[in-house]
Symmetry: C2
Subunit: 679 residues, 2 copies
C-alpha cells in the first residue's frame, strides 16, 4: 500500500531502510524503522542530540535552499541551534528536517552527540543502544487556580502529551523537590524516565531544571582481587573514565573460599565485607567522576557483575551456602534495585542492574563474559574461558550452551608459586629458554627490552627483577617443556644438571634457575606440579563439556580476564590448558565481563538476552561428574594425553621425545601406576 511517490530513506550504519512520504520528519522515519536516534528535547531543536549527516541526495547547506533538495531546507530551529551551539557544516537536526526525496542518512558516530551503536575498541564489535533510561525535556503548564492539578501531576501530563509516557510512577525521593525544580527551570525541566522491562511501569527517577543534555552510567566488574569500573555516557555510549582498585575484602581472605570461611567464623564478617566492597565502589565512583569532571549525582544507571560470592557479599547476602554442596545461590536471577539501597553515592534515583548468575560457581561475571562473546549467538562451537581461582567455562553455540566451573586454584594467578608475584613493575612477564644451552632470557613489566638486549640492565636497575607474574608462569613451564627441561609428566630432568648449572638439586627433586641477579628466581618441582594441577583442572572441565556436546574440537576460544590478556595462547596450547584449535581463532578478549556489563548498561535488550540465555545454559557441576576425575588425571601430562596435536605441532616446535624426557624419580612412578590402571 506504499504510495509510489514515497521516497527511499536509508539509515547508516545500521543499513535499515524504508519508504516515506514527502514531508516526513526524519527522526520519526528513523524510529519507525527501529533506528535509535537520541533526542532529549523532543523535537524542539535545542538539545542537538538528533544530528544526522546526509550522505547522498542534493541537500541544503546552512541557510541555502534549493528546489532540488531531497531534504527540507535548513529551518529556523536549526539556524537557532547552529548559532548558539556547534553544528558542523552539513549536519542537520533530524527532528527539524523532513524527507523531500531519496536520502541516505548517516547517524554520526562521533560519540559526542549521538550514537546508535557503540563500537568495541579492540575488535570493532558494536553495541546497539537502547538504554533503560531516557532523558525527556518538557515544558510544563504553570499552576492555574481553575485546574488544581499538582505540579508533579502537570509534569506527568506533559510527559504523556510530548513523549507518550503513560502511567508513570515517581520515585518518592523526588516528591519534596519537584516543586522547586519546576520553578527553578521556569517550568522547563528534563525528566529522567527509567523503564527496564516492558512489563514494568516506567518511573520518573530524576528531574533537572531546564535542558539536561547528559547522563552517565557505571559498568563495573567486582572481581575477588580487583574491581574495575567504567564511567559511560548514556547518551554517546562512550566510556569517559575507567578506574580499578584492589578488592579490599582481600584483608578478610585472599581467595574466595577463605572469605567464605571468614564469614563462617565471624558473625559480623559478612557485614564487614559488604561494607568494605561498597566503600571501595564509592571510592572508584569518586575517582572516575573526578577524572571525567562529572558529578556523581549525574550517574543514573549502574550495572554490576561479579562471581557468586562477590555478588552475594555486594548485595549483603551471606555467602556461606556457596561454600559447600549444593552451592545454593540465594538469588540467581537478575537483580533490579536502587543504588542507594546498596549505599552507593550516586543520584538518589539511580538504578542498579546486576546480571543473573549462571550457577553456584558460575556467576554474573561469567554471564557478562557470555553476553560479550556470544557463543549463544552463533553457529560454530565457541569456548569461553575466564581464569581465576576458579575457571569459568562456557562452551557451545546457538543450539546448546553449557557452563561449568573448574577448581584451578590460585596457581594461574601466581599464588602458590615460589617465585610468583602479582603483576607489577619488575615482575617477569615473558620468558624464552634456549633448548641448546638452557639459558633463559626474560622481559619484565615496565621495561620494553628483553634481558639480552642492550640497555636492559640500566632500564631494569631501578625496578629490580622481583619475581614471576601469574600469567608468565604458563610461559615458563611451557618453555621448560619445549626446552626438554621437564618431561611429559612434568618432572624436572635432573640429568640435565650435568649440562647446565641452571638445573640444581633441591632435596629429592630438581629446580630450574630462571634468573640469576641481585635476586635469584627458581622454578621448583612443586611449582611445575601446581601448574600441572591447575591446567589439568581447567582442561578436564573443558573436556567434560566437549563430551556432553559430543564434539572433538572447538571452533574458537576466547580467553577472558587479565590472565587471558597476558598469556600467549600458543603456550596455553603447548601446556594443554585448552583443546586443539586453530591458533588464529584463539584470542584474548580482555575484560569481557566489564564489556558485558557495559552492553547491559547501554542496551536493555542485552539484559533480556542474557536473562533468557542463562535459563537455557546447561550447568555442569564438575564435582558430580565421574568422568571429570578421569579427564583430570589424563590432563596432568604435558601436553594432555588425549589426542594428537597436528595443527599445533605445525606451528610450534615440540620437543623430540628422548630417553631423558622420561625423567626419573617419584613422579614417573606415579605416571606408570596410572598407565597400569588404564590398562
Amino acid at each position: 500500500m506504499t504510495d509510489p511517490k514515497d521516497h527511499l530513506v536509508l539509515f547508516m550504519p545500521s543499513g535499515k531502510r524504508g519508504r516515506f512520504p514527502k514531508g516526513k520528519v526524519i527522526i520519526d522515519a528513523a524510529r519507525e524503522l527501529g533506528v535509535y536516534v537520541e533526542s532529549v528535547c523532543g523535537g524542539r531543536g535545542i538539545c542537538g542530540r538528533c544530528q544526522i549527516d546526509i550522505q547522498e541526495g542534493n541537500f541544503a547547506k546552512h541557510g541555502i535552499t534549493s528546489s532540488n533538495d531531497h531534504i527540507s531546507p535548513f529551518g529556523a530551529k536549526e539556524k537557532r541551534y547552529a548559532e548558539k551551539r556547534d553544528l558542523k557544516e552539513g549536519r542537520r537536526l533530524s527532528c527539524s528536517s523532513t524527507v523531500e526525496g531519496d536520502l541516505v542518512v548517516d547517524i554520526p558516530q562521533d560519540g559526542q552527540i549521538n550514537a546508535a551503536v557503540v563500537r568495541k575498541v579492540d575488535d570493532g564489535r558494536v553495541i546497539e543502544r537502547n538504554p533503560a533510561l531516557q532523558l525527556c525535556y518538557v515544558e510544563v503548564e504553570e499552576p492555574d487556580m481553575h485546574k488544581p492539578l499538582g505540579d508533579l501531576d502537570r509534569l506527568k501530563v506533559a510527559l504523556n502529551d510530548d513523549w507518550g509516557w503513560e502511567d508513570l510512577m515517581v520515585d518518592s525521593h523526588l516528591m519534596p523537590h519537584v516543586q522547586q525544580i519546576l520553578r527553578q527551570g521556569e517550568w522547563k525541566v528534563t525528566a529522567v524516565i527509567h523503564r527496564d522491562m516492558e512489563t514494568a511501569r516506567p518511573s520518573i527517577i530524576a528531574l533537572y531544571p531546564g535542558l539536561k543534555n547528559e547522563a552517565y552510567g557505571i559498568a563495573c566488574d567486582i572481581g575477588s582481587t580487583t574491581i574495575a569500573m567504567h564511567l559511560v555516557s548514556l547518551l554517546s555510549g562512550n566510556t569517559i573514565a575507567s578506574s580499578g582498585a584492589p578488592n579490599p575484602q582481600i584483608r578478610f581472605g585472599e581467595d574466595l573460599m577463605s572469605r567464605v570461611s571468614y564469614v563462617m567464623m565471624n558473625p559480623e564478617g559478612r557485614e564487614g565485607m559488604t561494607t568494605a566492597v561498597r566503600v571501595a565502589l564509592n571510592g572508584l565512583i569518586e575517582n572516575v567522576c573526578t577524572e571525567a569532571g562529572v558529578e556523581p549525582n549525574d550517574i543514573l544507571d549502574l550495572v554490576f557483575v561479579g562471581n557468586p560470592i562477590m555478588h552475594h557479599l555486594f548485595l549483603g547476602i551471606d555467602p556461606t551456602e556457596l561454600g559447600g554442596a549444593p552451592f545454593a545461590l540465594a538469588v540467581s536471577g537478575a537483580v533490579h534495585t536502587w543504588a542507594s539501597d546498596l549505599d552507593l553515592v550516586t543520584n538518589k534515583g539511580a538504578r542498579v542492574y546486576i546480571l543473573p548468575c549462571i550457577a553456584g560457581h558460575v556467576g554474573a561475571d561469567a554471564a557478562a563474559v557470555t553476553l560479550c562473546e556470544g557463543p549463544h549467538r552463533q553457529e560454530s562451537q565457541m569456548l569461553v574461558v575466564d581464569v581465576g581461582t576458579n575457571a569459568e567455562i562456557v562452551l557451545g553455540n546457538s543450539h546448546r550452551t553449557l557452563a561449568a566451573s573448574s577448581p584451578t586454584g590460585p596457581a594461574f594467578e601466581g599464588a602458590e608459586i615460589s617465585c610468583g608475584q602479582r603483576a607489577a613493575p619488575g615482575a617477569i612477564e615473558r620468558v624464552r629458554i634456549d633448548p641448546e644451552t638452557l639459558e633463559s632470557r626474560v622481559r619484565i613489566i615496565g621495561v620494553d627490552k628483553w634481558s639480552d638486549e642492550e640497555g636492559f640492565d640500566e632500564a631494569a636497575e631501578s625496578l629490580g627483577i622481583t619475581g614471576v607474574c601469574g600469567s608468565a608462569i604458563i610461559e615458563v613451564v611451557a618453555e621448560m617443556y619445549l626446552a626438554g627441561i621437564i618431561s611429559e609428566d612434568g618432572v624436572i630432568n635432573g640429568s640435565l644438571a650435568e649440562k647446565s648449572d641452571r638445573i640444581i638439586e633441591d632435596g629429592r627433586t630438581f629446580s630450574y634457575v630462571l634468573w640469576r641477579g641481585k635476586q635469584t628466581h627458581t622454578i621448583q618441582q612443586t611449582d611445575v606440579r601446581a601448574i600441572q594441577l591447575a591446567k589439568a583442572a581447567l582442561y578436564a572441565g573443558i573436556k567434560l563439556l566437549m563430551d556432553k556436546l559430543e564434539i572433538e574440537q572447538v571452533d574458537s576460544i576466547s580467553f577472558a580476564g587479565a590472565f587471558g590478556t597476558f598469556i600467549d595462547p600458543k603456550y596455553a596450547m603447548v601446556l594443554g590448558l585448552i583443546p586443539d584449535c586453530d591458533l588464529d581463532k584463539v584470542k584474548a578478549v580482555g575484560n569481557a565481563a566489564g564489556y558485558g556489563a557495559k552492553m547491559a548498561l547501554l542496551n536493555r535488550g542485552y539484559r533480556r538476552e542474557i536473562e533468557e540465555t542463562v535459563t537455557k545454559i546447561e550447568k555442569i557441576e564438575t564435582a558430580l561428574e565421574s568422568k571429570f576425575q578421569d579427564h583430570f588425571v589424563n590432563a596432568m601430562a604435558l601436553p594432555n594425553k588425549v589426542e594428537p596435536f597436528p595443527k599445533l605441532s605445525e606451528q610450534v616446535k615440540l620437543p623430540e621425545k628422548t630417553a631423558d624426557n622420561n625423567g626419573s624419580g617419584d613422579a614417573d612412578g606415579g605416571r606408570r601406576r596410572r598407565r597400569r590402571a588404564r590398562g
Copy 2:
C-alpha cells in the same frame, strides 16, 4: 451452555450466585463469581481462613458422611485442621470441600477468620474487601546442584505455580534475608505480595518462615490539630486498636496558615515540622501495636489522609505555595511510596498509599470523606461538610460533584472565642436558655447531668466548669438567638439588661453571662460576630456550589469530623450554617476521613474509585467567584437572608419578630446600609 445437572450455589452475604458442576471446589466457585474468600495457605487446609457455613442443603457434620449431602463429606484436611485448631460445629473449609448439590454458602462475618465485607459500626455500611496485599503460603523446592536456580528464584517459581503470580518483583531489603527465612521455615514460607494497580507489577514485599496467618494495616487521618490512627487486621478487616494524639506541629503554629508562615520565616522550619509529624506517627504506631499486642514489623500497608498542608509536610514538601494564589499543590494525585521512605517504623517492605488531593484547599482528607460518604455514588443531592479552620464542602451526585473550601476561620473550633476552649473534661458542651427568664443551663464534658439537675454540682466540683468547647459555641449562639437575646443581625439586645442581670454592658456593646460560678463565662458581642463570620463563610461556600448545580435545596447533609459529631444539626440549621434540609437527613458521620482511609486500606478498588472521582470533581475556588461575597454578606444574618425555612420552622420554635429583635447600635446601622444597597 450450562450442564443442566449443574448445581446452584448462592454465596451470602453478597447474594452472588452461579451454577457449578458436581465436584467443584467451593473456594474456586466463590472466586469465579468474584466473591472474596480469604486463603493464605492456598488450599492446603492449614490456615483456616477460607471457612464457610452451609445454610441450606443437607450437609455433613464433622466426620459423618451421608449420601444425601449437597457438599462433599468432611475430608482429611478438614479433620486435621479441626483437631489442631478451632473449627466451629458445622463450619467447613471451602478449599477442601466440593459442590455436590444446590448450596447456600455463608461467608462468616465473625471477623476473626475471614471477611468478604466489613460493616461500618455506626450505620452498617459495608466495605468489600480487596486488599492490595495478599499472603501466600508456599512450599519451596530445596536447592539442587543439578538445577542451580537461586533460593529467591525457586520461591518465585512456587508463587507462580501455586498462586499464579507471574513476573514478580522483589523488594531489595529482602535480598539478604530470603536465604535464611527459607531455611528457618524449612522451605515453607509465607510471602506477602503487594499489587495495588493492575498496571503495576506485583512485588514480594515481605517474607515469613512457615505459615503467617495475619497481617496488619494502618488507616490514619493527619489533622492539623489531631492525628487519628487505626490499626486494622488486613485479613479480618477489623479495627483492632485506635489511638489519637495532638499534632505536634501545633508548637510551630496553631492553625494551618501560621505553620505555612513558620516555614516561610524559618529555612529549617519545613524539616522540623516533617520530623515532628513523623515522630508523632511512630509514637501512635507504637501505641496501637502495644494496645493490640501486634509487632510493628507485621504492619505492611498504610493509608494516610490529611489536608493539603498536612499532606505536604508529611511528605517533606514545602507547603509555602499553598499559602497564596494560585494555591499550587506540589502533588495532587495519589501517592504510592514506602513507609521507610517516610521514616515510619513498620515492616521494611510496608507500602504507603496517600489518597489524592482535590485542590489546593481541599485535600486528601476531603477525598477520604467523599469516598466514605459517596455523593458520587448516588442520585440524590448530597452535601458533605467537614468543618475545621477551613470548611471543605463537597456537593453533588453521581452526575456531577463540586468541591470548595470556605475560609470559616477557627471560630467553630472555639478559637477566637473569649471563653472558648478545646473539648476537655469541664468544658461546656450543651446549653439551653430559657426564653422567658434568659437563665441558662449547661452540660459539661465528663458529667452526665444538666446543671439544674440534682447532683451536678458535686459531680462538676472536681472538674470545674472551665469554658465553652468549640462545637458548643454554635449551640450557645443559636440558643441566644432562639431566646431573643440576639437579633437577626447578631446584635446582643442591650435593652434586655433591664429584664435580666445576665445581659451586661460591656463598653459600647453588651454581653451575655452564660455561666456564673467559681469562673464566669461570658459570651461577648465579638464572639457572636466571629460565629457569624464563620457561618457566613460556610454557608456562602455551600450556596455557591448550589448555584453552580442550579439547585435550591439538598437532599441530605453529612457532617464529618469532630465538629459534626458534637454539634446538634438542629442548631446548625437555626443559625443557617447549612441550607434547608429534612432534619432526618442531616447526620454526623464522625471521622469519615479516617473511615475513607480504612476503605482504601481494605479495598484497592476504592483507591481507583477515589482517584477517578477526584479527576471528575469540579473545584470551585471561592476566592475567584464574585457571587461568594454576596452570599457571604447575606449569610451574616441569623438565619440567612436567603429563603424561608418552612420545614425547619415546623420543627424548631423560631423567635417571633419583635421590635426588640431589631436591636440597636452600630451593627444595626450596618444592616440598614446593606438593605439600602440591595434596594
